[in-house]
């Protein structure tokens, strides 16, 4: 086995292969970052909707809650299949990358909304009341009072989630999107030693994921003031399904 690795290594670690792998890594990162940013924006909207109390918005609250629950309880792989075949039934012109991205955004929205909701709930209710008594509107309360206090609680699990997502995107290789995990399949198909190939792919993921998880751990320590430390505890170990390990898909 070692002989094979040593023998193949010069053919494998070529300039063009390196470029190819790096591009694939770029695609993995793009999927992750776009997915997380979109997830943050839509997730924020969902968390904001769920924090309303008006009776008129009850159907909307119900709708987004059902959305969140559903997408956190279906394997990512299954969502990928449904979205892919669903979209292709309507139109053939959409690229696989776009389809993968849509699926990723749908899932990350559900998870991010839970993280953001937990963060918003960590801000004492009285803060909201004080703002209300001073005639702050819904959006002003959210943007000036709730979010500036909640972000410390949102960031650490947010980063943990992003790390998860880098790995989850590996499943996208199954539908033929040329990201990092796909390069593994491809090189093995060309006859390279799986040891060498998958070792490299694993290293590639590690290089992307490790710094992020360190940053997340650093932020968690750094941002934990006496008050928010309690809240982080609540998010990471506290009641209900909002915790450090998102109920989700493993990739």
């Amino acid at each position: 086995m070692w002989d094979r690795i040593v023998q193949e290594a010069p053919d494998f670690f070529t300039y063009y292969n390196a470029i190819f792998v790096l591009q694939a890594m770029g695609r993995t990162l793009a999927l992750t970052v776009i997915g997380c940013v979109a997830g943050f924006i839509f997730g924020f909207a969902i968390a904001a909707i769920r924090s309303t109390r008006a009776r008129a918005l009850l159907p909307l609250r119900l709708l987004v809650t059902v959305y969140v629950e559903i997408f956190r309880r279906i394997p990512f792989l299954v969502i990928l299949f449904i979205v892919m075949f669903g979209i292709q039934a309507v139109s053939r012109g959409i690229s696989l990358f776009a389809i993968a991205l849509i699926s990723i955004c749908m899932v990350s929205t559900a998870f991010m909304s839970e993280i953001i909701r937990a963060g918003m709930e960590s801000v004492p209710k009285m803060q909201r009341e004080a703002a209300e008594a001073m005639n702050f509107g819904f959006m002003r309360t959210l943007l000036l009072v709730i979010l500036p206090q909640a972000w410390k609680v949102i960031l650490p699990p947010g980063f943990a989630f992003m790390v998860m997502f880098i790995k989850d995107t590996a499943l996208v290789s199954q539908m033929g999107v040329v990201e990092l995990a796909f390069t593994g399949k491809m090189f093995v198909g060309r006859g390279f030693s799986p040891f060498l190939v998958y070792g490299t792919v694993l290293a590639g993921y590690f290089v992307m994921s490790y710094p992020l998880s360190r940053l997340g751990a650093y932020l968690e320590n750094r941002l934990a003031t006496s008050r928010s430390r309690e809240s982080i505890q609540r998010v990471w170990t506290g009641p209900g399904p909002v915790q450090s390990e998102p109920v989700g898909e493993q990739g």
Binding site: M1, R4, T65, E69, I70, R73, I74, P75, F76, L77, V78, I79, F81, I82, F85, G86, A89, V90, V163, I166, K167, D168, A170, L171, S173, Q174, A181, G184, K185, V188, S193, P194, F195, V197, Y198, G199, V201, L202, Y205, F206, S209, Y210, S213, W236, T237, G238, P239, G240, P241, Q243, S244, E245, P246, V247, G248, E249, Q250, G251
Partner: protein, 224 residues
């Protein structure tokens, strides 16, 4: 678009699919409990072990939590035969997921053990509890309470993650759905049905775990 949904052909295969769901639970169960054993030793080793042991455990946790389980299993399944180790798809998946959950559970269990406060142990000593009594009445209940929620979430995460096994040809829920859809060509319907099964499965798991938690550890667990 003129696509007409036909669920009939899928419903006819429901028993077959539910059989797959059973296998899904099996994979999740196996990797959860095997992972818990690794996690327990990992947590204890990380806290009380020597320098080398701590470093090794750390390396293990960091590696497995920072690389995709899918690629790890690819490695086990395709690369190990080169070294003369041949694994069936099922064993490769269970080993991969076990190693993964072992890494995560090391961290979760360690956080649980660390959460026991000195004052609690001192109080127990003041009350005149013996060593085993202390473990039974003070330390274990406390750890159980702290890690209960992350653990139950992690189990659900494993249920969903086990769908990966389909990629290696294991005929669990997702695998069987792929089998069916290649025959009846009703992919959207088939996968919608198993999506519902997954939702039901995880809900049942959530509720069951919440009940166990309430009964055994008096944890007020939320399902939503």
């Amino acid at each position: 678009m003129n696509y007409t949904f036909q669920f009939g052909v899928v419903f006819a295969q429901l028993p077959y699919l539910l059989g797959g769901a059973l296998l899904t639970l099996e994979v999740a169960f196996l990797s959860f409990w095997l992972g818990a054993v690794i996690g327990l030793f990992g947590a204890l080793g990380k806290m009380y072990g020597g320098r080398v042991i701590r470093w090794l455990i750390n390396a293990y946790v960091v590696f497995f939590t920072n690389t995709p389980a899918l690629v790890q299993i690819f490695f086990l399944f395709y690369a190990l035969p080169d070294a003369g180790i041949l694994l069936t798809p099922m064993t490769a998946v269970v080993i991969g997921m076990t190693l993964n959950s072992g890494a995560y559970l090391t961290d979760i269990l360690r956080a649980g053990i660390l959460s026991v406060r000195r004052e609690e142990i001192e109080t127990a000593q003041v009350l005149g509890m013996s060593g085993p009594q202390m473990v039974r009445f003070v330390i274990l209940p406390h750890i159980a309470k702290t890690i209960y929620a992350p653990l139950s979430n992690f189990f659900i995460w494993l249920v969903l993650g086990s769908s990966m096994a389909a990629i290696f040809g294991v005929e669990e829920l997702t695998g069987r759905a792929i089998n069916i859809s290649t025959q009846n060509l009703r992919t959207i319907e088939t996968f919608s049905v198993i999506a519902v099964i997954y939702i039901a499965l995880t809900f049942i798991a959530s509720i069951a775990l919440a009940l166990v938690g309430r009964w055994a550890f008096r944890v007020r667990a939320r399902i939503f």
